[in-house]
């Protein structure tokens, strides 16, 4: 029982980590909270439903389509909602935040319109496959989610730590002016960051659809707020913090449902923020993108 819950918690936590990474990358580079990230995530989930359930195509095609479409959404977000507000005289520093809130509302309405308000099941072909180890049941879906999340996190860490583009991103996150003096085309790095973050959101959307077998237009908001909670918990703009914070939140939620009262499940994230902010205002891991 305990181990099963642990597995559930880790599965959920690794998805949270992927969502939070999208937030933290954008915050690291642009210094803004992308309130539309949750809705981009939700679109990823719907594209997964569309491809695998409605069109009956294989799961990998669902991932591919979700990645492509959410990447394009990320590009549009940067190009039309964020860039025009940058370096403009007299534009409030809150403007980009408001702008992303606007995009998030637009996307939620759009998804109501496109997909309907109801609950859409997400049928992975291997949803029922499970393994019994002693008294423990592990679903293949959980393993797939965990493996994809870990690969994604490792790839991101490697990319940020070892590649030229990844280093340029970190330099831009640390100091935009310095990065540009070193020859980094910071506009391109910013665009690339929003695209990567959005595509990660899209992947997380499919993972959540698989995990809960349910996709709704409202899922973006609650996931967005949780992602926000996680990056405050882990340290704004911090990659390790987002991973650890996601895991912590996933485990905490799972155990509160089992051993406490499931009604408080969604409150956990916000309780955690309040406590952390009181004890460690800079978050668990401190600031900015590092490896």
């Amino acid at each position: 029982m305990l181990i099963e819950q642990l597995i559930n918690g880790i599965t959920l936590g690794s998805i949270y980590a992927i969502v939070a990474l999208g937030f933290t990358l954008v915050f690291g580079v642009l210094g803004i909270i992308n309130m539309a990230h949750g809705e981009i995530f939700m679109f990823g989930a719907f594209i997964g439903v569309l491809v695998t359930t409605s069109l009956q195509l294989p799961l990998w095609l669902g991932f591919l389509a979700a990645i492509l479409i959410t990447a394009v959404m990320g590009y549009m977000l940067e190009r039309f909602a964020l860039r025009p507000l940058r370096h403009k005289q007299g534009v409030s520093h809150l403007a980009p935040l408001i702008s992303t809130i606007g995009v998030s509302i637009l996307l939620e309405n759009l998804s109501h319109h496109l997909f309907g308000a109801g609950n859409h099941p997400f049928r992975a072909s291997f949803a029922e496959i499970n393994f019994q180890i002693g008294s423990i049941t592990i679903y293949l879906v959980q393993i797939v989610i965990f493996v994809i999340s870990v690969i994604l996190m490792m790839a991101l860490s490697f990319w940020l730590g070892k590649t030229k583009a990844g280093k340029a991103l970190r330099a831009t996150a640390e100091n935009l002016e310095t990065a540009s003096l070193l020859g980094v085309d910071t506009k391109r790095i910013i665009t690339m960051t929003v695209i990567i973050a959005s595509a990660m959101g899209g992947i997380a959307g499919i993972l959540v659809g698989m995990a809960f077998n349910s996709v709704t237009p409202q899922m973006g908001l609650s996931m967005g707020l949780k992602g926000l909670a996680i990056i405050i918990l882990g340290g704004m703009g911090n990659v390790k913090g987002a991973m650890a914070g996601g895991l912590i939140l996933g485990l905490a939620e799972t155990f509160i449902v089992v051993y406490g009262d499931s009604g408080y499940r969604d409150a956990i994230a916000f309780l955690a923020i309040i406590v952390i902010l009181l004890i460690r205002p800079q978050g668990l891991f401190g600031q900015k993108i590092s490896t």
Partner: protein, 236 residues
């Protein structure tokens, strides 16, 4: 090599540079002197592309480069070591150096890295340390080394001796001289006027956004009015 003509620059509505003209000959060291707030950093930022001038023209190697971005200017050969060094504190010393060669595509980067580490043994020792953990003098060395790795034709240095102990200041000036001797042209902003002029060929004096004097470094050093106004600060 660099020709700045009639530059007017603003921060918002406040005009900081008023009709700045200056010229840097290839192979020389040129120093800009001036009191705090005179506009020295603003001049450097404008030349490096961080600030777009409202009016005026910047020519580099005969080409109009007014309004280009810093990364574009770096590719043309202009590198700035900004005031306060601006080390990437969360990246290692090695990563900082690698970022110096970010725009390069040739295959001599590794070789240049080794040369630089040889010239600055302290950086080699601290290769894996985070930039933010270095002392002020070490950070300045790192900032200069990083800029060299971009293989600039014109190196802009904004108060490289700021806040450093006299012994290290002397070291920095020696390094600047060396860099110049290997063929890099240098435009320097300094408050350590005497030491700066000693290694320079030419100097400009900036006062509240205007150039009020200029001349051969030697002449400026011997000019009693300038000595009093700008060299009064204890140095050397």
């Amino acid at each position: 090599m660099l020709k700045v003509s009639c530059i007017h620059a603003f921060y918002g509505n406040i005009q900081v540079l008023k009709n700045i003209d200056l010229q840097v000959e290839e192979g020389s060291i040129v120093t800009i002197l001036g009191a705090n707030g005179a506009g020295k950093t603003t001049t450097m930022k404008t030349v490096a592309g961080l600030l777009k001038p409202q009016q005026g023209k910047i020519e580099f190697l005969g080409e109009d480069v007014t309004g280009l971005r810093p990364d574009q200017l770096l590719r043309k050969g202009i590198a700035l070591v900004p005031e306060g060094r601006q080390i990437l504190a969360g990246m290692t010393v090695m990563e900082n150096l690698e970022m110096g060669a970010y725009h390069r595509k040739d295959n001599e980067i590794g070789q240049d890295l080794e040369k630089v580490l040889e010239r600055f043994p302290i950086l080699k020792e601290r290769e894996k340390q985070l930039g933010g953990t270095l002392s002020g003098g070490q950070q300045q060395m790192l900032a200069i080394a990083r800029a060299i790795l971009s293989r600039p034709k014109l190196l802009l240095l904004d108060e490289p001796s700021m806040g450093l102990a006299p012994l290290i200041v002397a070291d920095i000036f020696k390094i600047i001289k060396e860099i110049n001797e290997t063929g890099t042209t240098v435009l320097l902003v300094e408050q350590n006027a005497r030491q700066a002029l000693k290694i320079s060929d030419y100097g400009y004096v900036l006062e509240i956004g205007k150039i009020v004097a200029d001349g051969k470094a030697q002449d400026l050093l011997n000019d009693p009015r300038i000595m009093e106004a700008y060299l009064g600060r204890k140095s050397s």
